[in-house]
């Protein structure tokens, strides 16, 4: 029994919803994107329609998620019901300070015990910070390929920057693999220490564990949540 308690406050409902939308939109985008690149004898019209729809949903969802970070409160670490404005948990937190090396060592099996940290370990935090940027880049390159938006000055600027629509197409295609790689790493890290984080993220199912004090930055107890069992 080593992990911290999993409380709903870590993932308030709005973020659970945006995360679900992320997941579904990404699945549609990758499948339809592959069908656009490697055409098979089924409807291209549907693949493209779904792709552009899911693409726009993904971009809007990403913007909504980032904006909500400034209004919605969430727990700064696992193992506590205290909350702060969510954006603070995206920035470097005191709990994470000096811990980057420890995380790398831990994941490389050069350190036996689990690093103390904030809601997100240092590697996870970095990958989550990159994701909105990547989504926006995919959105821009996608709009540059989309006939209704491609002639706009905005898209023409980016098309000229990369050397034309053909280059943009390949960059967009390349971006898909970057996303797939992120997904591999993300799902691995999210499940590497058991399925409890996933149940909390998707189903809001809480789970007992150690209690962390986000002000004192240490573990101060254990919540067994036995009351839930009877």
């Amino acid at each position: 029994m080593a992990h911290l308690a999993h409380y709903k406050e870590a993932h308030p409902l709005p973020f659970v919803i945006t995360h679900w939308i992320n997941l579904v939109a990404m699945a549609i985008l990758i499948i339809s994107g592959l069908l656009i690149h490697f055409p098979v004898p089924i409807s291209m019209g549907i693949a493209r329609g779904l792709h552009i729809f899911a693409g726009i949903v993904l971009v809007i969802n990403c913007l909504v998620r980032v904006i909500m970070a400034f209004f919605v409160r969430s727990a700064p670490t696992a193992g506590t019901r205290e909350t702060v404005k969510d954006y603070k948990t995206w920035l470097p937190q005191k709990d994470n300070r000096h811990q980057g090396g420890a995380w790398v060592k831990y994941y490389l099996f050069m350190k036996k015990d689990h690093p103390l940290g904030a809601k997100l370990g240092v590697p996870q935090k970095i990958s989550y910070l990159l994701i909105p940027i990547l989504i926006i880049l995919m959105g821009i390159s996608g709009l540059c390929l989309w006939a209704p938006t491609a002639p706009s000055g905005f898209c023409q600027f980016f098309l000229n920057l990369v050397g034309g629509a053909m280059s943009m197409r390949i960059i967009h295609y390349f971006g898909m693999y970057v996303f797939i790689i992120f997904l591999f790493i993300h799902v691995h890290l999210a499940t590497a220490e058991g399925n409890e984080p996933v149940k909390l993220m998707f189903l809001r199912k809480e789970h007992g564990g150690l209690v962390y004090d986000p002000d004192k930055h240490v573990i101060v107890g254990e919540d067994k949540m036995e009351h839930l069992e009877h």
Partner: protein, 444 residues
Amino acid sequence: MSEATANFGLVDALEARGISRRSFLKFCGSLAVAAGLSATAAPRVAMALETELENAKGGLFPVLWIEGASCTGCTESFAQIETPDVGKVVLELIALNYSDVLCAGAGHSLEAAKEETIQNGNYVVVYEGGITQGFGSNTLRVAMETGEEILVHAAENAAAVIALGSCAVNGGWMAAYPNPAEATGVSGILKKHSIATPVVNIPGCPANPEWLMSVLVQVLMMGGAEGLLAGDVPAVVKTLGLNDEGKPQGIFGETIHDNCERRGHFENGEFVYEFGSKEEELGYCLYPLGCKGPQTKANCGVTMWNNRRSWCIQAGSPCLGCCEANPNDPGDNWVEVNTPFYKRDRDLHIGDWFFRPTVVAAGLTGIVGAAILIHRFGMKKAGRMDGGADFEPIRAWDAKNPDRSIGQYEYSVMGDPVKMKAAQEEIAKQYEVAEEAAAEDEGR
């Protein structure tokens, strides 16, 4: 020369060459289409042509057709149109004062005629081919002058330069990596020499002759000329509907894919995967064979080729994207961005390093996937899968820097079973209190 022949009408002139009024009108119809109008505009075009020619009485703009570094394919394409060749006749009537390839004259006399035209001003240059700046511009010399000097000299005094063909627009295939001859297009050279003469870009390899005819007719007869004479560049740009890249928007505003006759098959997912297959016979969409139609802007599917007989995709070839040519970027030339022609993928390069996106990207994805798999086994073997390893009692950095410690370890219960037990009981009690309060609430 009698009065009657001197004041001949356009239709008479055409009939003298065996061209009926009907084929003249058909020609005007295709000019209208090439210019992005509907074919029903044919009589309007015909009338404009006739009246302008009659009014002008030889006062029309002369045209100089100059060869740069070219294969003369655009000239060939223009000259190879089957008889009766309406376009060529009209162009002859306009005043084609100089053409390396088409003119009967040659040598000093032709060069002198060209120089005279330049000195007189108010002429239009049709420039075919790229400009090679490498090797001191010496890869092309005509009458002792380099291609670059010839263009600069002819352009300075011209009312407009029509850059004909993808090579003239941005260097075309000559500008493909590594571009040893430093090829570029007309716009690039004029910019380099700060020449403000307006440039009309008509890409294509070769450029469709009807596009040229349509632009010439508009420049010379349908109002564009007045703008040019007045030095009113915005008026010319407006007459021709030029876009940011100096291309007539009516011709180069939509993609091949937008006007493709196989588009229905594309939407239905009916594709040709192999030449010579049944699907090819059925006329399915050529997308999997590398068709560049979705990324290429030109109205080939509307104007078509060889007097509207057929065009690439109707003839069974995927579009190679020969009209891709960004005048501001020789690297964005159709050969570099569209090869391999028959593949959906293209090579990417960062500097001198070339790679296939699918190979590199799928390879990277595979490596990361394998690394994660190994890592998962490691996590399992280390017993971390079930909740992770036990927490460190103190951060390594804090242990080394107790005076600046992040954690306040006097409150920590880690590694102290007595404190831990007390804390656990404290938290459990909070739940009991809460439950009792809830039960009381219900009881009331």
